[in-house]
């Protein structure tokens, strides 16, 4: 057995964005773990200053091609908070419907093309597709169902443009929702099949006592709003976020590291939502979870692929429910008059909570912006996982261990493009 070894992946595959992993072992123990995010920083927060409050949804949607709806939703919520805008219940329902499309699209991509190859021993989705074309086709068609819902409500598939502070630019008629309804019925069946299939995969025996953080809402599986709760006693309004969470610069990463004050790492995303809000899933989704071998709690991050399948199923179910109850609002949006103040928004992006905070002046110009994406929040949990996961597996062959470490990172579906953040340049000179 080598006493000293390094597990290194210089360019992480099958993740959004550019990152690397570094694990150092000395004397049979893990001494250092680094998830390195080196995609160039993107100065979005600085860029937002001086722009109109109404521009925030469209500007921030550009941060991510996979979860633009999440950015729009957190942004409009924050702006509607500061301007005290009442949101029409049908506008709220439509936003939730749009968000369901993004969950379906994002989760399908991750499950089928990025994560499943890990469990089935394939180097990539291309290799998986050669042996199992029907499985990959199902994933692509599921993803398309999500994309088509986003296109219908968001105006276009990538970087939707239809959401505005106060409502939508245009709302669909009931008739316009018919074709996507048929597609969603197929998608719901496919999601059931997905849950069944992912439940049969083999998972490494690995569990951690995470602090899960997610939004929670009394009446629904929280997506667009709720209180921030955890399994270790956190229960706060979104506007209290900054009093409980801190961010810090880490020299080796372009993304800020988040932690809970006095407590440290926490986990956001499907696993957190599932554990905190299981009882608010639809009966069909709960049943599918049980059939796939999950209880109401799940502490094995490798099983997040099953949880994502359950969430796709829920999103299809919920989308169909929302469509069935949809009555077009009288007006697509209400007029918004800006007023000076600070507003807060937090919604459940596919990868976990996405927090926005904006301060605007009386004329509606943004004077300060803060955006905390889910992957930035999960960095500490990812590193803690690598540490705990590698320790008992130090004697595995290098290739196997490296593979499993990459898989452990992909459990989080990290979106490095989102996480990349302004990093102050520091030059140390003696």
């Amino acid at each position: 057995m080598s006493r000293t070894r390094t597990i290194k992946v210089d360019y992480l595959a099958r993740v959004e964005g550019e990152g690397a992993m570094y694990v150092r072992v000395r004397g049979g123990q893990v001494t250092d773990v680094q998830l390195r995010i080196f995609e160039p920083p993107r100065f979005f927060e600085g860029f937002l200053r001086g722009r109109r409050f109404s521009e925030a949804p469209d500007i921030t949607a550009r941060i991510c091609g996979i979860c633009p709806v999440a950015y729009q939703m957190s942004a409009v919520q924050a702006m509607e908070d500061v301007c005290a805008v009442p949101v029409d219940p049908q506008v709220r329902a439509l936003r939730r419907l749009l968000y369901c499309g993004e969950w379906i699209e994002s989760h399908a991509l991750h499950i089928y093309l990025l994560h499943a190859p890990d469990f089935l021993g394939y180097e990539s989705a291309v290799h998986l597709a050669k042996d199992h074309p029907a499985i990959v086709e199902r994933g692509l068609r599921l993803k398309k169902a999500g994309n088509d819902l986003m296109t219908l409500l968001g105006g276009r598939a990538v970087h939707p443009i239809n959401v505005r502070v106060g409502g939508f630019y245009r709302v669909p008629t009931r008739r316009e929702l018919v074709p996507v309804t048929e597609q969603l019925k197929w998608a719901r069946d496919a999601a059931l099949e997905t849950a069944r299939w992912t439940g049969t995969l083999e998972f490494p025996h690995y569990e951690q006592d995470y602090e899960f953080v997610a939004l929670s809402h009394p009446d629904e599986y929280a997506i667009t709003e709720g209180r921030l709760v955890s399994n270790q006693g956190l229960d706060i309004a979104v506007r209290e976020y900054d009093a409980h969470f801190v961010e810090e610069h880490i020299p080796y990463s372009n993304a800020l590291h988040s932690s809970l004050k006095d407590r440290g790492a926490y986990l956001v995303g499907p696993l957190a939502r599932y554990n905190l809000n299981f009882d608010r899933l639809s009966p069909l989704a709960r049943e599918a979870a049980r059939a796939a071998g999950l209880g109401p709690t799940c502490r094995n991050p490798f099983q997040s692929i099953v949880v994502r399948s359950v969430e796709i199923l829920y999103a299809c179910d919920e989308a169909l429910r929302l469509i069935a109850q949809y009555v077009p609002p009288e007006r697509p949006s209400v007029e918004v008059v800006p007023r000076a103040g600070t507003g807060y928004g937090c919604t459940e992006a596919p990868r976990g909570i996405l927090y926005h905070r904006y301060t605007i002046d009386d004329a509606g110009f943004i004077t300060d912006a803060k955006i905390v994406p889910p992957t930035a929040q999960n960095q500490k949990a990812i590193e803690a996982d690598l540490r705990a996961f590698v320790d008992p597996r130090i004697d595995l062959p290098q290739e196997t261990l490296t593979w499993q470490c990459e898989q452990a990172i992909r459990n989080y579906d990290p979106c490095i493009s989102c996480a990349t953040h302004f990093l102050a340049l520091r030059v140390d000179r003696e």
Partner: protein, 169 residues
């Protein structure tokens, strides 16, 4: 995403030119700039699409077309402005030469995934334009500017030879 292939010309081979790239990363926008100029030069003749390069939606976009030409920026270490052409039906796209995609599923993945699933268009040509600068900004390097014009001429040639004569050209 709707496929902007002209449905009125079903008797003709359906040609689609897709420019891939990030419009705010200088030479990475070479593909997009190619289709913009192509649109100006030959409006209504060739269907074009600007695309961010996410692989699965790329596969959706080219569905139904007979000849697809994808133009993307390349960062392989050769002289900026170098143009490379790949006939993808007969050879795999060398993944290493295309500029690292920030997408989990990029252009080479889309090509190989489509090949594995029998979803490649009947003809698929990929042009790679070697870039010089990929930092934040919008202007192309002079060598890339020239390469864009070269690629446009070659695309018009491809369309003549492989896609049949373009309408009204």
């Amino acid at each position: 995403m709707s496929t902007p292939v002209d449905a009125d010309r079903l008797d003709r081979p359906r040609v689609l030119v897709i420019g891939v790239g990030n419009p705010y990363r200088r030479d990475d926008a070479a593909g997009r700039e190619t289709v913009r100029r192509l649109r100006d030069r030959a409006p209504h003749v060739i269907a074009t699409l600007e695309h961010d390069g996410e692989g699965t939606s790329l596969m959706e976009a080219w569905q139904g077309a007979d000849l697809v030409i994808v133009v993307d920026a390349v960062s392989s270490g050769v002289a900026p402005g170098t143009v490379r052409r790949f006939d993808v039906r007969s050879e795999p796209l060398p993944a290493a030469i295309l500029r690292d995609s920030t997408h989990a599923v990029g252009v080479p993945d889309a090509v190989e995934l489509a090949r594995a699933l029998g979803r490649l268009p009947p003809r698929l040509i990929v042009y790679g334009i070697e870039g010089r600068a990929f930092d934040a900004g919008e202007a192309l390097s002079p060598e890339v500017e020239r390469a864009v014009d070269e690629v446009i001429s070659r695309i018009l040639g491809d369309v003549q030879v492989e896609g049949g004569p373009p309408a009204d050209a």
